[in-house]
């Protein structure tokens, strides 16, 4: 059986936990061995060390969600040199060192989707603020960049500030409270990562601004259910990481078997709910458009 390894950005968070679950399910369905191992903090250096040890150990495929796309290049080259199938998933690396990038949705689509949700929540005019995770998180910054690109299309909306709260809910609550205090007239506050989104929602509730300020952002639904009930959150954005994990393992097996993805058309992947599309130009396998969670659909997801 094939040994397929997936290295998340870090272990111990619900998002990658869901990907792990998907990967495991795929491994069972497809009869391969699935190895899930990653650093406990979002450290690229540690990821490299882990990949190197996987090479020493000998695996058939390595899929990585790099904390720094460029930094994994040398080690991925080394893996490739040893005949290992190299892939990226969730976040891309350099194109020449991976066979395929299994992408949840394109960063542009994500950034745009968040901006569109923000615009809709505030009825297309007013101010909003962003609380992000770490200032160096590559994908968060990319999404913010696209978000700002989209923002240009909404002339009546203003972004008042971008702050950072790391991977810590309590910090996000405190920063959120300070932001609301500083800009009481904002209509939306965005939490860009798993911890910031529930943090700012909590801050809205603590500040007694439910109904005046909407919290939204990118996070797993389990963190937001409670806040939706309390009315601080109406909509937020993500995709289905469980499906993404499944697709990653599926794609690895598919390539290891010597197949080639059919280009530019929906692919039937048994076991997941969307129909991914493969773009040969960028060697990208895209899960589908980002999901917008609402009170109506949130109970369907358990991650």
């Amino acid at each position: 059986t094939y040994k397929i390894a997936f290295i998340p950005k870090l272990v111990g968070i619900p998002y990658f936990n869901a990907m792990e679950a998907g990967g495991k399910r795929a491994a069972k369905d497809l009869g391969v061995e699935f190895i899930y191992t990653g650093p406990t903090t979002d450290s690229v250096a540690k990821q490299i060390e882990i990949i190197d040890n996987l090479i020493t150990k000998g695996v058939d495929a390595i899929a990585v969600a790099p904390n720094d796309p460029a930094a994994i290049t040398p080690i991925m080259k080394k893996a490739k040199g040893k005949g290992i199938l190299t892939m990226t998933s969730d976040t891309d690396g350099a194109q020449n060192v991976r066979e395929v990038f299994v992408n949840q949705a394109r960063p542009r689509d994500i950034g745009y989707a968040v901006m569109d949700v923000v615009a809709e929540l505030m009825d297309y005019k007013g101010k909003f603020a962003i609380v992000s995770g770490g200032p160096t998180a590559w994908n968060l910054n990319t999404w913010i960049m696209y978000l700002q690109q989209r923002l240009a299309e909404y002339p009546d909306i203003e972004l008042v500030t971008i702050r950072y709260a790391g991977e810590d809910v309590q910090k996000a609550v405190d920063v959120g409270l300070s932001v609301i205090q500083a800009f009481p007239d904002i209509k939306v506050i965005v939490g860009m990562n798993s911890t910031s989104a529930p943090g700012v929602a909590e801050a809205v509730e603590l500040a007694g601004k439910v109904g005046q300020i909407w919290a939204t952002g990118i996070t797993v639904p389990s963190m937001m259910k409670e806040h939706m009930k309390k009315g601080s959150v109406k909509k937020f954005v993500l995709w289905d990481p469980e499906n993404l994990g499944y697709l990653t393992v599926w794609a690895a097996k598919y390539l290891l078997d010597g197949n080639e993805f059919p280009a530019n058309k929906p692919i039937d992947v048994p076991g997941i709910s969307t129909k991914p599309i493969y773009y040969p130009g960028t060697k990208e396998l895209v899960l589908g458009p980002p999901l917008v969670f609402t009170p109506e659909n949130i109970d369907k997801y358990n991650f």
Binding site: V11, G12, I35, T37, G38, P39, T40, T41, S43, V44, A45, K46, I48, E49, I50, D52, N53, T56, K57, G58, D68, P69, A70, A71, I72, T73, P74, G134, P135, T136, W138, N141, I144, M145, Q148
Partner: protein
């Protein structure tokens, strides 16, 4: 036998060495890949950067008076960004950029040293503050045209020999930088007047002052050396991973301190050795490698480290109660 146990009890490096051998045997037995020459040589490179930081902490902690450097990881980040921005974004010659990166590291250390030694401020506060400052500076110089701090990765190809080249499977940075440096530092500490002065200062600053020891210079210089070592680690790391990031050193402070302490450096100052720290680096590098190869979740890497830390202290106490006073 008694002599052996006595040595175990009193000599930290020897204790760690025995521990290392035991660990090697266990790992080799359980994991076939572990004791291959390839693996052993290959894993050495993962001890280099953190090892340099641990050496820095060793010197600084020995200097006493609560000496500690919480900014060491941030210095690494800042030096890395200096190299990255100068070479990658501004197109400066890579050799020059690297030298400036090292100087930046030394300068950061000098700032720490200035406050600690000449203004006599508590090292913990000083380096905590500069940790914020250097982190912030690293972020600021990393800002791209979109206003986001972004890593720099377009280094010239020639730069990579420092961190990626191997000779007979031995990584360049291990053989050409780390080992010579460890030797020099060991020599410095155990054989020279600098070493004497350092231990004197760490044992009692007052007595040292009364004994004509240039206390201020010594304290200042350990922070400078520390900063320089962090700069060197930054150079090696950016070359190895081909990327300069403003968060490259995040979380390394505590690891470096942990290694120094495991190696027998007394947090109150005045006691410690390069050899002990070196042994601790080897233990930790081999431990992480072994656990990963054994497929044990990385979650338990730190946990195991914790157990070793406390366990070895207990073992040491038991041993020294039983054996150290027997002549």
């Amino acid at each position: 036998m008694k002599k052996f146990l006595n040595l175990m009890a009193t000599n930290r490096s020897f204790f760690l060495f025995i521990f290392l051998i035991a660990m090697f045997l266990v790992f080799s037995f359980v994991i076939p890949e572990f004791s291959t020459i390839y693996n052993i040589l290959n894993m050495t490179k993962y001890g280099v950067e953190i090892g340099l930081l641990a050496f820095a902490e060793t010197l600084i902690i020995i200097s006493g008076g609560g000496g500690i450097d919480l900014s060491i990881g941030s210095i690494l980040s800042l030096s890395a960004m200096v190299i990255g921005v100068l070479a990658g974004r501004l197109g400066m010659n890579i050799v020059l950029a690297s030298i400036l990166g090292l100087i930046a590291g030394g300068l950061c250390g000098a700032v720490n040293g200035f406050f600690v030694s000449f203004l006599r401020m508590p090292p913990l506060i000083v380096t905590l503050s500069t940790m914020y400052v250097y982190d912030s500076l690293a972020l600021l110089i990393a800002v791209d045209k979109w206003g986001n701090p972004m890593p720099v990765s377009n280094f010239p190809y020639g730069y990579f020999f420092i961190g990626q080249q191997t000779y007979f499977n031995i990584p360049f940075q291990v053989i050409a930088i780390f080992i010579p440096l460890a030797l020099i530092l060991h020599f410095l500490l155990s054989k020279t007047t600098f070493g004497r002065y350092l231990f004197a200062t760490g044992n009692s600053e007052v007595v040292a002052r009364f004994s004509n020891v240039p206390v201020k210079k010594i304290k200042f210089s350990v922070y400078v050396i520390g900063g320089f070592l962090a700069g060197l680690a930054a150079l090696i790391m950016t070359s190895r991973i081909a990327s300069a990031r403003p968060d490259l050193g995040a979380g390394l402070n505590l690891q470096a301190i942990t290694i120094a302490v495991l190696g027998g450096t007394n947090i109150m100052g005045g006691e410690g050795s390069i050899l002990g720290t070196l042994m601790a680096i080897v233990v930790i590098t081999a431990l992480y490698n072994g656990l990963q190869l054994a497929g044990i979740s990385s979650i338990w890497q730190v946990g195991t480290l914790g157990i070793i830390l406390i366990g070895s202290a207990i073992a040491n106490i038991i041993l020294s109660r039983k054996y150290s006073s027997v002549e």
